[in-house]
Every structure is written in structure tokens, then in C-alpha cells.
């Protein structure tokens, strides 16, 4: 009769345990940053894997999102005779929301899943245990550079996404639809605020980079060391990261722009 209650309790304890393990792992990773200063090579290799290899998909998506925004925005705005504000609409939606959020979703799919699979396989083939046998701390040596690389890459990728989106929107709006060139930029510059919009977008992308990389590393490190376990962990990384990004985005938006 008390079985359902016991199951609930076990689920609660498991969840708490997961949260605790996640934070302990994070502490371990953060304490590995000091060692990382002596081995910048490790960081550069990970910046390449996490940042440079994600660049193409982020750049292409950013350009197309900006172009579509411009097309759709023009359709609505021209009904009110407000085509001149197309630049404001494109830039505001990219810098405030779409840049950080879509770049983070792509980042979770492209880089996060790769991180989880790589670390999960390292654990499954006992490479991490091997490192420990040689008195090398795998958290500091393997996870810390990956975490820092994700944290650095994310805001840069989001900025590239937004910038290319604005350029794409410019080409469609001004080149294709015939919005006035000067009005596009001047209205944008008059309405987009460096502090309120650009800085808050960067803060968002920093938070998303932190969370996405943390989830990816946690899932990889604690993946069940079998083929099926690694595959499940990779799926969980993408799902959890995407949900975390969307949920956090709502909270951050409410805090930043909610007054």
C-alpha cells in the first residue's frame, strides 16, 4: 500500500542526488581552471572542436533567420505603412531573443551532443579510468577545457548569428523589398540600446553557454557505459539543453525587459 509513496520518495531522492552530483562536477571543473592556465593548448583544441566547427551552421542559420524575419516583418509592417521600422524589428528580435536562443539550440545540437558522445565513449572504453590510474584527474584534464571552450564560444557564436542575421535582413529588406537604406540603419540605431538590448543579449548567451556545456558534460560523464547508455545520454543532452535554454530565456527576459 505504501509502494507508490516509496516510489515517489525514491524519485525525489534520485533527483536530489543528480542535482548534487551535477554541482559537485561543476565545482571540480571550475577548480580545474587553474591548471588550464598552464596548458592553453588543451583549451585551443577544444575551442576548435566546440566553436570553429559550429561556426558554419550558426552562420548559415543566422543569415537565413534574418532574411526570413525581414520578409515576414515587411509583410506585416507594410500594412501599417511602417516599412521604415523594419531594421528595428529585425535587429531587436535578433539581438534580444533569436540570436542567443537559436544559437544556443544549435549549439546544444551541434556541440553539446558531440561533447556528451565523446566523453560517454571515453568512459565506456575506460579511458577516463585509465587517466585516473595514471594519477591524472579526468575532470580537470578532460572536462575543464571543454567547459571553458563552450562558455567562451557561445557568446561569440550568438554575436555572429545576430550580426549575420542583421546583414541578411538588410539584403532582403533594402535590396529585395526596397526599404530605404538610410531609414533601415538610422531607425535601428535610434531604437536599439547598447545597454538594454545588446548587453542583455550577451548576458543571455553567456548563461546559455554555461548551462548547455554543463548539461552536456554531466550527461557524458555519468552516462551508462554502454552503447545504448551513450546514445540515451546524447539524446538527453539535446532535450535537456533545449528545455533549459527556453525556460531560462523566459526567466531572463522577464527579469531584463519585464519592467
Amino acid at each position: 500500500m505504501l509502494d507508490p509513496l516509496a516510489r515517489l520518495g525514491r524519485a525525489g531522492i534520485d533527483t536530489l542526488e543528480q542535482i548534487g552530483r551535477g554541482h559537485l562536477l561543476l565545482l571540480g571543473i571550475l577548480s580545474g581552471f587553474a591548471d588550464l592556465a598552464r596548458r592553453p593548448r588543451l583549451l585551443i583544441a577544444q575551442l576548435y572542436a566546440v566553436g570553429v566547427l559550429s561556426l558554419l551552421i550558426v552562420a548559415v542559420s543566422g543569415t537565413f533567420v534574418g532574411m526570413v524575419l525581414s520578409l515576414q516583418g515587411y509583410y506585416i509592417l507594410s500594412q501599417f505603412g511602417a516599412e521604415q521600422t523594419l531594421g528595428v524589428m529585425v535587429a531587436a528580435s535578433l539581438v534580444r531573443e533569436l540570436g542567443p536562443v537559436v544559437a544556443a539550440l544549435l549549439f546544444a545540437g551541434r556541440a553539446g551532443s558531440a561533447l556528451t558522445a565523446e566523453i560517454g565513449l571515453m568512459a565506456a572504453t575506460e579511458q577516463l579510468s585509465g587517466l585516473e590510474m595514471m594519477a591524472v584527474n579526468p575532470v580537470k584534464r578532460i572536462l575543464a577545457p571543454r567547459f571553458l571552450a563552450g562558455f567562451i564560444s557561445m557568446p561569440l557564436l550568438a554575436a555572429i548569428f545576430s550580426a549575420l542575421g542583421v546583414v541578411g535582413g538588410y539584403f532582403v529588406g533594402v535590396g529585395l523589398l526596397g526599404v530605404d537604406d538610410g531609414a533601415f540603419w538610422s531607425q535601428m540605431q535610434a531604437k536599439i540600446d547598447l545597454q538594454g538590448d545588446v548587453r542583455n543579449g550577451v548576458i543571455k548567451s553567456l548563461v546559455f553557454g554555461f548551462v548547455c556545456t554543463w548539461i552536456a558534460l554531466f550527461q557524458g560523464y555519468y552516462a551508462v557505459p554502454t552503447a545504448e547508455g551513450v546514445s540515451r545520454a546524447t539524446t538527453r543532452t539535446v532535450v535537456h539543453s533545449s528545455l533549459a535554454v527556453l525556460g531560462l530565456d523566459f526567466i531572463l527576459t522577464a527579469l531584463m525587459f519585464g519592467d
Partner: protein, 158 residues
């Protein structure tokens, strides 16, 4: 060794591209390029009603933006709004008897302050005050006046 150098170059290019994108967002997309930092002077103007004027609204002269609204306060003794205007330093020859009016850009646009130059030989300086002002036009008041005058006409006709 060559391979690792190749990777370093690509990472460098990635970081540079990211920083260029941030710079582009700061300079071209937002208003950093057009806001003057520090240089300039502050003058105040009192209005009976500022409508929906906001901090950072533009201040224009002959349609050219010469500054921004830097603060809006309320004077509880005279029941007036006290608007502080930050005028850019290069526009230092604005007559001190200039007329400040609150306009609306377009029918639904934002409100801004337009300055009409006066004839004085002395110019506005830091801490100066624009004595001549005209309040914002509030649509409801105009409609109210219109209805009132129509009603008056009706009374006369009878």
C-alpha cells in the same frame, strides 16, 4: 606541429569573427556610434504636460538631432514637469530665448522636443533654462475642446 598551428589559426579567426560581430552590434546596430559620451551640456525646460515624452527621446533643431532628453522630474510646488536636455557640445550656439515644443513624429510616432531658435545674442550654457515652452498636444484634450466648441455653436444657434 603543423596541424596544431592550423587549428590555432582557425581558432584565432573564430575569436576574431566573434569579436567583430560584437563590435558590429555595438557600433552599427545600437546607438553607441551616435551618442556623445560626456561632452555636451545640460539645460532644463519646464512643461505643463509632457505627454508621452521619455528619457532618451531626441531633441531636434530644424529637424536635426542635437541632443537627447536625459531626465524627467516632477516639481511638486509648481505642478510642472522638469525635463533635462543633454545637448551635444558641438551645438553650442543655441540662443537662450529659444522656444522648446513637444512634437509627435507622425500620427503614432514617438514624441520629441523641437527647439525653435530665438533672437538672443547670448547662448545656452550648462545649467541654463529654456523659459519658453509649449506642452505636448494630448489627443483627448483636443477632441474635448472641439466637442466643447461645437456645443457652444449649438447654444448660439438656438
Amino acid at each position: 606541429m603543423r596541424n596544431s598551428r592550423h587549428i590555432e589559426i582557425l581558432v584565432g579567426a573564430f575569436m576574431a569573427a566573434g569579436l567583430v560581430a560584437l563590435f558590429f552590434l555595438a557600433m552599427q546596430v545600437s546607438n553607441l556610434g551616435s551618442t556623445s559620451t560626456g561632452d555636451g551640456y545640460r539645460v532644463t525646460a519646464r512643461f505643463d504636460n509632457i505627454g508621452s515624452l521619455k528619457v532618451r527621446s531626441p531633441v531636434t533643431m530644424a529637424g536635426v538631432r542635437v541632443g537627447r532628453v536625459s531626465a524627467i522630474d516632477y516639481d511638486s510646488t509648481t505642478y510642472e514637469a522638469v525635463v533635462s536636455l543633454h545637448i551635444e557640445g558641438r551645438f553650442d550656439q543655441i540662443p537662450e530665448d529659444s522656444f522648446a515644443k513637444i512634437f509627435t513624429a507622425g500620427l503614432l510616432g514617438e514624441q520629441y522636443i523641437g527647439l525653435d531658435p530665438g533672437g538672443s545674442e547670448s547662448y545656452l550654457t550648462e545649467g541654463g533654462e529654456l523659459a519658453l515652452t509649449q506642452s505636448a498636444l494630448v489627443l483627448e484634450e483636443i477632441i474635448g475642446q472641439f466637442l466643447f466648441s461645437k456645443a457652444q455653436e449649438g447654444v448660439k444657434d438656438e
